[in-house]
Each structure stands twice: as structure tokens, then as C-alpha cells.
């Protein structure tokens, strides 16, 4: 082993390079092998979630494909571009699915997905992810408690500003003793999402042209590749 040190280190580097190339090849082929299936899973999961909050009778379009990119807006609390799904029945807009963030949960952000009917009523709300205390603040999740269904059918036409609070604060919404910060945040986020909907209603339901995917609704355009903002964390 008295080869020159340079030659030896070059050989070592080459060795590492070859392994890196093999590894990359394996990864790339697995990626292509599973890509379609992964997309299907993600879309299937999304459709499952969407059909929970948009009654199937409400739409006959391919809701997964009828999307609109939503620029960050303080009313939605989102900091990334999110995707809105539009439900249409016989070509008429019937509901829109929005993602919203309640930034002031007890454990941080609470990510919500909600659907609003064309008439401004909430069709359904679900918590996508949260960090609230298990067993205490997590009654906002559906399997744990039906609380989140309390939003169904509510609208700004029915409830005035001061009603969009938990009962403890003089509003209309239930809460569980010991965990009021969590529902407070969710109620506020849903209310603000409704305000957003009313402000942007026409843009939200704009005809589904084969839109350029990165069409910001308001504010300066924030270009993001497709798929950004869909991730559930």
C-alpha cells in the first residue's frame, strides 16, 4: 500500500462517488416507481377529507382538480400559498373549501380546513393538525367530540360579530371548562375565514378556466410550485 497519497485519496473519493451514484440511482428509480401511487394516496386522502365537509350532493365536478391558489391573507392566517377547492353543481358554484390557520391555539397553530356554501353558510369545519393538549384541548377533533360540528350551517347573516365567541366570552359557541383558549382560537379563525369569503367571493368562484396554477388572489404574487401548501404537518 505504498501508492502515492494523492492517488490513494483520489481512489477513495472515487469510491465514495460511485456509492453516491448507485444510491442516487436507487432513489430515483424508487421515486418514479411510487410517484403516481403517492399522488393517488394524497389525492384520495384529500377527497376523503373534503367529502366530510362538503356534502356529496353539493357537487358533481372534479373538485380535486377545480382549484385556485390562495395568497397568504391575514384573514385566513396562512403564511404560505394554499389551495382552495371549488364545488360546483351543474356548473353553478355551490361551495368552496378553504384552508385556514388559527394562530393562537394553546399549543401553537391549529390548521383547519373548512367549506363555505355559496350562500355564506359554513358547510363543515375540520381540524387538520394541531398541538393542543391531548385529552384536554383536543375535543376540536371530530373523533374525540362532535364540537366542531357546531359550526355547520352558521353564517355571518345569522350571527353578528359579538356572537362569534365562546359562551364564556358572551358568544354563541360551546366550550369545555378548562380548555377555552383552543375553541376561542378556532371560533375566531372560522369567523375570519367567513369574512375572507365574503370579501373575495367573486374571485373565489371565478370560472374554472384552465388557470395558470400560480394565480394569486390578492396582494403581490407569491410564486410557488404546485404542491406547496398542501402538505399536512
Amino acid at each position: 500500500m505504498s501508492a502515492s497519497p494523492i492517488k490513494e485519496s483520489l481512489l477513495t473519493a472515487l469510491n465514495l462517488l460511485i456509492f453516491a451514484l448507485i444510491g442516487t440511482a436507487v432513489l430515483a428509480s424508487t421515486f418514479f416507481l411510487t410517484r403516481d401511487r403517492i399522488r393517488q394516496s394524497v389525492e384520495g386522502e384529500k377527497l376523503k377529507l373534503i367529502s366530510q365537509i362538503v356534502p356529496p350532493a353539493l357537487f358533481d365536478n372534479d373538485i380535486i382538480k377545480d382549484t385556485l391558489h390562495i395568497a397568504p391573507d391575514p384573514l385566513l392566517g396562512n403564511t404560505d400559498v394554499t389551495i382552495a377547492y371549488r364545488a360546483r353543481l351543474h356548473g353553478e358554484p355551490s361551495a368552496v373549501v378553504l384552508e385556514a390557520v388559527a394562530p393562537d391555539g394553546y399549543g401553537g397553530k391549529i390548521n383547519l380546513i373548512l367549506s363555505i356554501r355559496a350562500n355564506g353558510e359554513v358547510a363543515g369545519v375540520r381540524v387538520v393538525s394541531h398541538k393542543e393538549t391531548p385529552g384536554l384541548g383536543d375535543y376540536i377533533e371530530l373523533p374525540k367530540s362532535p364540537w366542531i360540528k357546531g359550526f355547520d350551517g352558521k353564517s355571518n347573516a345569522e350571527y353578528k360579530e359579538s356572537d362569534w365567541k365562546v359562551k364564556k366570552d358572551g358568544g354563541q359557541f360551546e366550550y369545555m371548562a378548562g380548555a377555552t383558549i383552543t375553541p376561542r382560537a378556532v371560533v375566531k379563525a372560522v369567523h375570519k375565514a367567513l369574512l375572507y369569503f365574503e370579501k373575495n367571493r367573486d374571485k373565489l368562484f371565478a370560472a374554472s378556466t384552465p388557470t395558470p396554477l400560480n394565480l394569486p388572489l390578492s396582494g403581490e404574487g407569491q410564486r410557488k410550485p404546485e404542491g406547496v401548501g398542501e402538505g399536512k404537518k
Binding site: 477513495t12 469510491n15 465514495l16 456509492f19 453516491a20 421515486f31 386522502e45 391531548p134
Partner: protein, 236 residues
């Protein structure tokens, strides 16, 4: 590989050198995902698979890799395998993939994987290396299953909750409600429950070891603690 060697490797991995309660390696996933049986076993099996495969992959190339770069090459192999597992879970077990989340890619950093590759696979032929990795992973899976079961029963009063995420909707009815109308016990679900549970498991394992030793000596003599926790390593 003869039968005896086979038995030794299996016994070593699952019991004597158990990663969860003896070597205490890979604590991070152990404590984080052991809140239910299904989560624990799923991550355990994913880890076992990665360990078996990385053992099998490292062993045949051990002569080809210069000593100086063996660690980066091993890590590379492990990372590739983990990412492959991740892709497949994402594709075919999406629900579970979402639940286990960050802990799948973190298998790469689970030091037990590299430890076995370095300590065993790089010195042995392919079959024993694969078996060793699998046995070690199996040991971890057992601990995860028991710990997950303890935490799930005490914390939520159920067993096998979330099984439908792993095996599809057909398995939804398999969930066992051990304690009906259970209100839940938060401590067991939260991280402290994992630490306490693991402590109890380690104590239990040591007790069994002591008992076996006492028996071997004929019920006499003062008992010297056998090597319970391995003092060398505290890995993430």
C-alpha cells in the same frame, strides 16, 4: 451459518442485547411513537426492515470500502434504504405514513442501525449480517409493542387503535376496547408516560436476568447486578 449461530444471533438481538431495554439505543423513536401498539410496531418493523437490508447491503461490500470512508458509505446506504421505505409507505400506507411522519426519515439517525452495521455487518458475511439486523430490529419492535400496549391501555383504554391505518379499512373492527367508557389517563399518552413505562420495562428485564442468574448459582450468594443499561451509549 449453522443452527447454533442462527440461534445466538437471534437470542442476542431480541433478548440479550435488546436495543430498547439493554443497549438503550434509539431512544428518540422509542419514546416518541410508543403511544399505541400500532404506531410502535409499525415503526419497529420499518426499522427492522432497514436494519436487515442495510446489514445485507453492507456485508458484501465491506472489502470494497476503504476504511476511512466506511462511515459515510454506511450512512449513505442506510439513508437510501430508509428513503425507499419512506416512499413505499407514502404510496401504500398513507394513513400510517402521516401518523409516523418525521420518525420514518429519522430511522437514518437511529444510532442502533449504524451501530450494528459497523459492529457486525462490516465483519460478517451477508446472511448473518442480515439476520443480526433483523433480530436487533425485532428486539426493538417487541419493546415498542409492549411499551405501546402499556401506554395505550392505560392512556386510552384500547388496544390496536389505528390498525386501519396500517391494514386498511377492513381492520377497523379489530380495535379492542379493553376498558369500556375509559376517560383516558393523560400521563401515559404524553412523553413522561413513555419514560416511566420504559423504566418499568428495564427494571422488569433486569429482574428476570437476576432471577435467572440466581437460579444458575443455586439460590445463593449476594446478587451482583448484571449489565442492565449499557453505560457506553445514549443515542438518539
Amino acid at each position: 451459518m449453522n443452527i447454533q449461530q442462527f440461534k445466538d444471533i437471534l437470542h442476542n438481538g431480541v433478548w440479550k442485547q435488546n436495543t430498547g431495554v439493554v443497549q438503550l439505543l434509539g431512544m428518540c423513536p422509542l419514546l416518541a411513537v410508543s403511544s399505541t401498539v400500532v404506531n410502535g410496531v409499525s415503526l419497529g418493523l420499518a426499522t427492522s426492515f432497514v436494519m436487515a437490508m442495510s446489514g445485507a447491503a453492507v456485508s458484501p461490500i465491506r472489502q470494497l470500502v476503504p476504511n476511512e470512508i466506511r462511515i459515510p458509505v454506511f450512512i449513505l446506504i442506510i439513508a437510501v434504504l430508509v428513503t425507499v421505505v419512506q416512499y413505499f409507505m407514502n404510496a401504500y400506507m398513507y394513513g400510517l405514513y402521516v401518523v409516523l411522519g418525521i420518525f420514518i426519515p429519522l430511522i437514518v439517525t437511529n444510532c442502533i442501525v449504524l451501530a450494528r452495521v459497523e459492529a457486525f455487518a462490516s465483519k460478517n458475511s451477508m446472511l448473518p449480517a442480515a439476520l443480526d439486523g433483523f433480530a436487533m430490529g425485532l428486539g426493538l419492535t417487541c419493546v415498542l409493542a409492549v411499551l405501546g400496549g402499556m401506554r395505550e391501555i392505560i392512556g386510552k383504554g384500547t388496544l390496536l387503535s389505528g390498525i386501519d391505518l396500517a391494514l386498511g379499512d377492513a381492520a377497523k373492527d379489530w380495535v379492542i376496547h379493553v376498558i369500556p367508557d375509559y376517560k383516558g389517563f393523560l400521563l401515559a399518552v404524553l412523553p413522561p408516560g413513555a419514560f416511566i413505562g420504559l423504566g418499568l420495562l428495564i427494571a422488569g428485564k433486569n429482574w428476570l436476568n437476576l432471577r435467572a442468574e440466581r437460579k444458575a448459582r443455586g439460590d445463593s450468594a449476594t446478587v451482583v447486578p448484571v449489565d442492565g443499561g449499557c453505560a457506553i451509549s445514549h443515542g438518539g
